[in-house]
Amino acid sequence: MRDINTDKENTWCSGCGNFGILNAFKKSVAMMVEAGISLDDIVMTCGIGCHGKIFDYLNMSGMYGLHGRALASAQGIKLANPDLKVICFGGDGDSLGEGLEHTLFAAKRNMDITLILHNNGTYGLTTGQFSPLSPRGYKGLSTPKGSIETPFRPIPLLLEAGATFIARSYSARLDHLAHTIQRAVNHKGFSIVEVLQPCVTYYNTYSLYNKMVKELEIVPYNRNLALQLATAEEAFYIGVFLEETKPVYHEELYGSHNPAMDRKASAERVI
């Protein structure tokens, strides 16, 4: 496998959970390649935020999208060329704030792409304002007296919207995360990996997660159990919560066609 690093200076804060995601992702890419997927067929998109910088650190094709819109562009890529594995890196502000609608519709459509959700509970890059996943009382520059909103719960929300593979992992559990990403990408349908990602600068959750994170042994056998475990208070369970088979959007749309590969030249087009 060719080197997938770039020489771009890494500007994440030292200790940031994003390093774990970057490393785990590289590992999962190596596993995918080993399993026979061509590096050329893996394409990424990302939003704007600290999470988005992963784009510059990976020498892989993709689109550094607009804030909140990366998942829409990811869907466009998949529809154009369904042979590609499309992986979107989203922030919690990005994917559940500005871009919430695209996230839920991607799930609704069971679009065959993967969302890796960098859940750091804050808007890192814009200096730590509260995010849709920040807890009540979170103090940031836009909420100096503490947030008065209840956070969304991404797993139940995406489950309800129609995602067919839902997992959670932790940026500090390299192997777990790498394997989870690989499974998510292999899954046919909309898959999401919520990654617990400490932001050392604005919302340092390392000690919380280190204490509370527990690995699930198996996929919960029903949705209720999955929801219970995903929202449990006694622990942050990591693992796969849901894995289901449902028709995927692009196949419903055009079966085994590939729009980008099977293009017709003008001469063949009759109007």
């Binding site: 050329d40 550094y64 466009g76 060329n81 055009y254 590969m261 293009r263 087009r269 109007i271």
Partner: protein, 557 residues
């Protein structure tokens, strides 16, 4: 040749098939080799209200529908009340006497007859067709044929209903239709022409979200999915649509988006992104009266400057507006081809009038350009934003078999040639210069196409763009004094090479805006002296004869 224009109008409630009846009549004229324009006036409602459809037709060219009727068929009282004053001398009026009263005109008990002939859902639109058929001297067989071909369902009931009404009409109109002619024709709306043109240039995906009068982009693309080899995606919002389109372009597909002003406003950030990632993207803006939700089903040209200055930041783009349904076809192909040649977003600006107005674009289409990328050498050395003399970088698509080991990075942040982000002063300047150079290339590239049109001759110079040109061309036929129509088709880059000859001249400007936006535009570009501004901004088209009179009066003044 007979130069008379016949105008036939059908009026009734939404849901009564007013448009359908007009369309069938229009088709009959088209097949007979006549020139035909159809315009639909409807409101933002689904049933009820007042809709009317007008067909103007002639053996000689006709460019837009007239507003005075030779034949008026009314399904309800409101249609009579609204249109009676617009009957020409000698015109015929038929009306549904179960619903309406009128001193003039010929009563037909359309409802009672429907009750008689239909068991389930009835269709008053057949009444209009039957009346027309009788007037035009169609045989029963010819009428039957139209019913079978055009209405497909409920053939028996429709036929019985139509035949009874046919039998009741003793009047005849001498249109002079030659029934032996059976000319092939292609009667389409402006929007349909746009989809057809883009398809011919290579369109793979149309991403949209319904918004009148642009919705039919989505509808027509969806309907023609198989035959045109493209996909229509109704996204969750306009924001989704344009960002999906960017993704599909990145993966190698020709894409377009479209909406009316409100939806286009929502696509601005994505439009700017197209400028930054250098995405080839055709954007179609079909205007209606604004601001905001405005008046959804009517026409306007209020979005000129809005279209010209879409998106934050500096980057090149092309904005052009078709002056006929035929031009809509070719321009749409040109704008998709230019988008790909230059890797820029292009805007096809049009308005409700042209979008939904129907005309025969003929069967022999001009040669249309194809949207092709500047191909690049794949491999490790590939750089998405490689500097080139004209600012256009070679394009390679991820995952394509001919592009092994190639990294293709499209980036909405300022970037290096390889697509990796940078905010160093030198890099920012370099990429801005690259895009700046491209802006020059755009000017050259556009010159390859027909950037302006002129119609007629005369001392008086009349400027217009978009479908207002159609109104003027029709008016030209009725003006005692000749005038010359000058129509910029490409608006940005402005075709100075063609239009500098008019710098400083005294001109008349005709447009559909309140404050005279196009006049301001011409003042900026050519420093023309706008002697007269004829502007209509009530959402309605001009009646060509009234427009002719207005222009004549100016000349007298």
């Amino acid at each position: 040749m007979d130069e008379r224009v016949f105008t036939i109008t059908v009026g009734g409630r939404a849901g009564e098939g007013v448009k359908k009846a007009a369309q069938v009549i229009a088709h009959i004229f088209c097949a007979a080799g006549w020139n035909v324009c159809q315009a639909d006036d409807y409101q933002s409602l689904i049933r009820g209200g007042h809709n009317f459809s007008t067909v103007s037709t002639s053996q000689t060219p006709v460019y837009c529908a007239h507003q005075n009727h030779d034949l008026l068929i009314c399904f309800d009282q409101r249609s009579i009340d609204k249109h009676l004053k617009r009957l020409k001398d000698g015109a015929l009026l038929f009306y549904n006497s179960d619903e309406a009263q009128c001193e003039q005109g010929i009563p037909i008990p359309m409802n009672s007859l429907m009750k008689k002939h239909y068991h389930g859902a009835s269709n008053v639109s057949l009444a209009a067709l039957a009346i027309f058929a009788a007037l035009a001297g169609m045989t029963q067989e010819q009428l039957q044929e139209q019913i079978v071909q055009q209405y497909r369902r409920d053939i028996e009931e429709n036929t019985a209903y139509a035949m009874e009404i046919y039998g009741m009409v003793s009047q005849r109109c001498d249109y002079g239709l030659d029934w032996s002619v059976n000319k092939p024709f292609h009667f389409v709306s402006g929007i349909q022409a746009i989809i057809l043109g883009a398809s011919k240039a290579g369109l793979d995906f149309f991403y949209g979200y319904p918004m009148t009068p642009a919705s039919s982009l989505l509808h027509y693309a969806a309907l023609k999915q198989e035959s045109l080899n493209l996909f229509a995606i109704h996204a969750e919002s306009e924001l989704a649509a344009i960002n999906m389109a960017l993704g599909s372009a990145m993966a190698g597909c020709r894409t377009a988006v479209g909406s009316s002003g409100g939806g286009f406003a929502l696509m601005q950030e994505g439009f700017s992104a197209a400028g930054m990632v250098e995405a080839p993207l055709l954007c179609i803006l079909s205007s209606r009266p604004g601001p905001a939700t405005g008046a959804s089903t009517y026409t306007a040209q209020e979005d000129l400057f809005f279209a010209l200055h879409q998106g934050h930041g500096e980057f090149g783009r092309v904005v052009a507006s078709p002056d006929s349904n035929n031009r809509a076809l070719s321009l749409s192909a040109e704008l998709l081809a230019l988008a790909w040649e230059l890797q820029i977003p292009t805007i096809l600006l049009t308005e409700k009038h042209l979008s939904e107005g129907m005309a025969d674009i003929g069967m022999n289409h001009p040669e249309l350009p194809e949207a092709k990328e500047l191909p690049g050498t794949a491999g490790a050395s590939y750089q998405r934003y490689a500097a080139t003399p004209n600012g256009v970088s070679p394009l390679v698509f991820p995952g394509h078999k001919c592009a092994p080991d190639t990294v293709v990075k499209w980036t909405t942040l300022e970037h290096l040639e390889n697509g990796v982000r940078s905010d160093s002063a030198a890099d920012i300047k370099a990429m801005k210069d690259k895009r700046g150079i491209k802006a020059k290339a755009i000017q050259e590239a556009c010159k390859r196409y027909q950037t302006t049109a002129e119609y007629g001759e005369g001392e008086l110079l009349v400027f217009a763009y978009g479908s207002t040109v159609l109104e003027l061309r029709e008016a030209q036929k009725y003006s005692q004094r000749p005038f010359k129509i000058i129509a910029p088709i490409y608006l940005e880059p402005f075709p100075h090479e063609k239009l500098e000859q008019y710098r400083g001249k005294e001109v008349v400007v005709v447009e559909h805006s309140q404050s005279g936006l196009f006049a301001q535009f011409l003042k900026i570009k050519l420093d023309v002296q706008v002697k007269h501004l004829i502007n209509k901004y009530d959402g309605r088209a001009f009646d060509p004869i009234e427009l002719a009179k207005q222009i004549e009066e100016l000349q007298d003044a």
